[in-house]
Point group: C2
């Protein structure tokens, strides 16, 4: 287990790479800690929760809502959790998003840590302190930005992860490459999910590299005034269709990334050849590059996105592979761009 | 209208004293601002909401719960409120507590201001950034500490305030005097609620003095590691009985203050004569000094208080009038002290 500490504006976060969940007791006190997980993770790794107070939530994005938060809070009260308690979210992005939010508001904020159990949560959801829940079709409409105390990485937890969840996580890896790391994009083009599943060392390195890309972006712009917005590549449109069509997050994001690449070609001189490379890489990792959706309806949902300010949407576009920027696109223009996708 | 700006750790707050609600448009943009109030305040001051987008909540502590928050959030989405929007809570402590919380979590935090309409909200609830909602019998179990952008004081709003709400607010004024300001305690002993109702200048000064007492305590200890805890005088026991017996907050607090005075006499050499002065002042302002409650049950609720850490309660006791401190009282001892009240 290798500890690295990163400083954010209001807190420092300890990252434990190459760790194992068995080492949690070295980080968190068993008496005052409550683990929070979902049914699937608990079923796959029951023995690892032995000796810990544990709350098990229903699994899936459909339960990433306030009523689940209410249930967990009632259970924390019953367990006697107080201001000195720590909660640890063990699971994918839905779990870490919810546990981060619960920790932020329970008794006006208690300590929390995450043990991500999916690629998506490892390289993206658990990093950066964004948490939240959905309201109707609006993703992450309610939440806070607040850093966890620690992140514990145990890649052995990925052994039970279905292939579709590997694909789901690689959407964010490809996104990181597209906005920040052309060399990683090249590396990804040479490999496949099977390669990373078979090469634990390569996987560890890929995860750490992605953690650091995201961490660096967040450190420089924790409250999303500037560069952090780039992490939203593919997410504005992705979020607008994800819940409606019950898409996995990664697929919604890659559909959104290809759309963003087309829009970038249209209004930002992004080259057609690089758009092809991005589309091909997305397909190479089992992800969706095109999908028929109701464009008028998606635009109506998208207008409610958090990144809208009055009549303009802050939309992430690509300059080239490895470099992106935010453009303020008037809603009237964006409507047309989406209709013409 | 006199503007004073106070700096807190992560934000500065503008206080507009001697203001009027009509001047709100000089502070907040009518297009991007949503006022949130309750049925009672809206009925009493309907004309003042003309020209503003307004959300009206049900009135009263019983509605200071998550389902009300959920309703307001749905209405904010319908109104198209975005990250650049401001919400302004117009009302008593229930309204400002809830609006502060909603603003903190809506789209991961939007700007908010308060126009307090009760003595309690003016001198206490609207200041310091604590917000929250109740969970069952547990008061403010869920919430955040986050400063508003501004506070606008309009004492003409108090003209519609029933006498019982004046009394309710003076509980916190007496508390401020008891923990921090012996001279103000003397002044209060010489007057009555009727005096402050008839002397607008004396009222303005009293409100400003109390705002500054609370502001100074919070500035020095925003996240309640030390001195801010003193503001909890009377609140630990008060909260444990308030919802159960449907007491007004002020009465719950004064019952709690007299209990704290007795405990202080028992374990902190607080004088019997000063205990009598405090009891007399509480009664002089129409508040409750003694009340028969189920002590065993109250202790069980109190054990779930946020100020408990493992087997010890951080309890505020008086040294003398105008000076208080926090004592760590083991739960076993506290149980006995409460049984013997």
């Amino acid at each position: 287990m290798v500890k690295q500490t990163y400083q954010f504006s209001t807190a420092s976060v300890d990252y434990y790479f190459n760790g194992s969940m068995e080492q949690l007791s070295a980080i968190a006190d068993t008496n005052s800690t409550v683990l929070i997980t979902d049914e699937n993770v608990f079923a796959a790794h029951t023995a690892k929760f032995n000796g810990w107070k544990t709350i098990v939530m229903k699994a899936g994005e459909a339960h990433k809502i306030q009523s689940t938060v209410d249930d967990v809070i009632r259970q924390l009260i019953e367990l006697g959790a107080d201001r000195k308690s720590t909660v640890v979210g063990v699971g994918g992005g839905v779990v870490t998003d919810m546990v981060g939010y619960i920790a932020a508001v329970y008794m006006r904020g208690i300590a929390c840590g995450f043990i991500p159990t999916t690629i998506l949560a490892m390289v993206d959801a658990s990093i950066g302190g964004k948490n939240g829940i959905d309201v109707g079709v609006y993703k992450n409409m309610v939440g806070i930005i607040r850093q966890p105390s620690f992140l514990l990485y145990d890649v052995s937890l990925l052994e039970s992860l279905p292939l579709k969840e590997w694909e789901n996580g690689f959407a964010e890896v490809i996104k990181h490459a597209a906005i920040k790391d052309a060399a990683m994009f090249d590396e990804l083009e040479q490999h496949s999910i099977a390669y990373y599943q078979d090469n634990k060392e390569a996987l560890q390195q890929l995860i750490e590299r992605n953690c650091l890309i995201k961490t660096k972006v967040v450190q420089e712009d924790e409250f999303e005034k500037a560069d952090r917005k780039l992490l939203n590549l593919g997410h504005t449109l992705g979020h607008a269709i994800e819940n409606k069509y019950e898409l996995m997050h990664g697929h919604a994001v890659t559909i959104g990334m290809v759309a963003a690449a087309k829009i970038s070609e249209e209004i930002n001189n992004f080259s057609s050849a690089e758009k092809q490379r991005l589309t091909k890489l997305i397909e190479q990792y089992g992800l969706t590059s095109s999908f028929a959706f109701d464009k008028a309806e998606a635009f109506e949902t998208l207008k409610k996105d958090k990144k809208k300010a009055q009549d303009v949407m802050q939309y992430v576009v690509l300059n080239k592979i490895g470099e992106a920027k935010v453009m303020n696109i008037p809603l009237v223009q964006l409507k047309e761009l989406i209709e013409n996708l």
